[in-house]
Amino acid sequence: MEQDNNRSDDRELKAVLGHSPAPELPAGAMDRLMARIAAEPQGSNVVPFVPRPSAPRPFWRLVAAVPLAASLALGIWLGASGKMDFMMPSTVTGGVVLNDDAPVDDLGGVGDAYAEEGTT
């Protein structure tokens, strides 16, 4: 039903639009277009890839890398050997981190509860 209505609307609209004549290209329009094209350069479709020119890397940049690498290696060795632990805060190096004061049967408070009830 709706489709029939649409078809009928469509037919009516086509009939009404039929009153509007199709405009013709103005005289000489094609010649004007071609004259414009003749004067218009055609752009290249391909963008050539040209690497950005860069200066050769200076030697001192390599020299600077040596002390940086040495500093990194020293830091790793000192950290691993523990020779600099006295300079660290205790939260990083102390017993909490090492977990050396925790009793072997530490049950996180559950054991205390059992102890109070005398069940342990």
């Binding site: 609209l13 094609m30 218009e40 055609q42 479709n45």
Partner: protein, 197 residues
């Protein structure tokens, strides 16, 4: 040159695009001869016959000439040209223009003399004016489908919308046109029946 032109007439749009990309003016002329008329008609309808309709239609072809590789799908060349031209029209309509009022053709109000029947020229002017009153995208959808004979799928591609969205635009355009021509609708239909169109 003439032999070229004859050879180009046999080519598909894809072949012509390739030749145009290689700088062939004759191939481009063949593309223009195939599609300029319909692109011009679309612009004319969109602008209600503005004086610069030719310039806007021309612009689409100049863009094609500058870079034919922009057309990804050679089979959709006409749609591509129409999209570029329609965008040029939309851009133009968004620019403030002092002469906008001068562009609009004067349409005699048929309500002013209700008994007089519309003659052919009046009917044409009235229908054109009411089409011009439609919102831009509805006008474009209507022109593509009803005047240029594009399928809904092709027209949706030109408008860069889904087919459902296009159908919605068409339905609103139909309603809008019917409302704005409500007083003359029957007469416009009857006139056609009488002239056998």
């Amino acid at each position: 040159m003439t032999r070229d032109a004859a050879a180009f007439r046999q080519m598909t749009d894809a072949g012509l695009l390739k030749a145009t990309a290689a700088g062939s003016h004759a191939a481009f002329a063949e593309i223009a001869s195939r599609h300029y008329q319909s692109v011009y008609r679309l612009v004319w309808r969109m602008t209600n016959g503005a004086a610069d309709a030719e310039d806007m239609a021309q612009e689409a072809f100049v863009r094609l000439w500058r870079n034919p590789a922009q057309v990804r799908e050679a089979g959709a060349l006409r749609g591509w040209l129409m999209r570029v031209a329609a965008n040029a029209v939309i851009d133009r309509s968004r620019k403030p223009r002092s002469a906008a009022l001068d562009d609009a053709p004067e349409v005699e109000d048929p309500q002013a003399r209700p008994d007089a029947p519309l003659d052919r020229a009046q009917a044409a002017r009235l229908v054109d004016a009411r089409i011009a009153d439609l919102p831009e995208r509805q006008r474009l959808a209507l022109s593509l489908v009803y005047f240029e004979g594009l399928t809904n799928i092709e027209a949706a591609a030109v408008l860069e919308v889904s087919v459902d969205a296009l159908e919605s635009l068409l339905a609103r355009a139909r309603r809008g046109l019917k409302d704005s021509l409500s007083g003359e609708w029957r007469e416009l239909l009857g006139g056609l029946a009488e002239t056998g169109q």
